[in-house]
Symmetry: C2
Subunit: 247 residues, 2 copies
């Protein structure tokens, strides 16, 4: 027979918790002293251990009571249900992590909070990615939008994202460069490589997104590119074309 204090020490749960479990009828001590102090039997301890195990598995105290009362009836059902909840929560956390990373990148990159991009990102990771891509609907067909969504869902590696941010950032910091210079060409080549890695498998998608970007100035799909970057790339491309034709 354990007093409540002994039981508390041996199991690590607080006295208040045992108090509460008694109060809600989850674990009632099987006997009491004449003075009213609670005495827990070995069976009670066993029940407590089971409660703690089920609690660890994420069940609410009410569910636990049901599970322990209804004996072994539909354990599997409860567990499968709980598993689904856990999986859904994992999905949610994955998206949350992506959104947080995205916001972190965007702040690091712009030095300030770009709320429209944050909203787009969150919408993209929420249930309604259609909303986030609405600005593009003039330029992309449904299939292409789906591909963009999948691409984001597939969780591009942190390396890829950082590489992309670096490439575009390099351009942003060098917009003044002479389009004919080697450095400018290098930057655009790096950019093209990376763009190819990310969108390369579909030439038409790339072209359409390019179209979209020229008119939208900025957007989530090509983030953090903006009009300035696009203009720079175009200038360099034209310069190079001229050079080729000239030679």
């Amino acid at each position: 027979m354990y007093t409540i204090g002994k039981l508390s020490k041996s199991t690590g749960v607080t006295v208040r918790t045992l108090d509460y479990y008694d109060e809600i009828g989850l674990i009632k001590p099987s006997s009491k002293t004449s003075g009213g102090h609670r005495l827990y039997s070995e069976d009670d301890v066993m029940r407590l251990e089971r409660v703690l195990a089920l609690k660890y598995m994420g069940f609410s105290l009410e569910q636990i009571r049901d599970i322990l009362e209804n004996s072994t009836a539909n354990w599997q059902e409860s567990i499968q249900h709980q598993l689904e909840l856990v999986k859904r929560e994992q999905e949610r956390l994955k998206m949350l992590e992506q959104a947080l990373l995205g916001v972190s990148y965007s702040i690091e990159f712009e030095g300030e909070i770009n709320w429209p991009i944050i909203f787009s990102m969150i919408k993209l990771y929420q249930q309604d990615p259609g909303d986030a891509l609405k600005p593009y609907e003039e330029y992309l067909n449904e299939d292409e939008m789906k591909r963009i969504m999948d691409m984001n869902a597939a969780q591009m590696s942190e390396e890829d994202i950082k590489e992309w941010l670096k490439v575009v950032g390099d351009i942003r910091n060098n917009l003044h460069l002479d389009p004919n210079s080697d450095k400018a060409e290098q930057l655009v080549i790096s950019w093209a490589d990376q763009a190819d890695k990310m969108f390369g498998q579909d030439e038409e998608l790339l072209v359409n997104m390019w179209e979209a970007l020229q008119n939208l100035q900025e957007g989530i799909a090509f983030y953090p590119m903006n009009k300035d970057v696009i203009d720079f790339i175009k200038r360099v491309a034209i310069a190079k074309e001229g050079e080729t034709h000239g030679s």
Copy 2:
């Protein structure tokens, strides 16, 4: 200017929620009618959108208030902190999923709830795997225990687990077989293959766990094997050895 009902409809948050945000000073309407009805300006709407975005990212309302007051001071810090929380929660859910799967398997397998195994499993996925492996400490050294923990942490694929359960289950259902029969030999070969896949890279570990199992009758490391299964395997092995020697 939006009335509270209009704002509620256009953003999807309930009136009660807006009521609450007003109450705690998170979003106070910038004006009111003479009769006291709340009127929300465009700025208020913007603030609400930001609040919702931050809420989606997992911040508490108090944190949100701080973040929005302190302007862009330490956004990165908040976000990194939040990211860490998210990652920790993901870890927790991964373990929870493993524990639930383990319990599910064990019920499916035994047709009843094997509490000791459940406790072992939970301890293994909790902070104190040492406790769960304590029964083995006579037979395994610290290094080997660590390897077992790592193996579990590495999250054996569901396929592997199911295969293992099937193999051991097959044996459990055929304990009566003649050790000299082909069927018996087949079963043990399948078992040995699977055991090799799971523990194969370390011969000594396998031997020691085998030792442990012979004395412990059952345990989490080799679950769901028990004494009967071990005896069967030994019988078949001896029979085969005899056969080999006899030929």
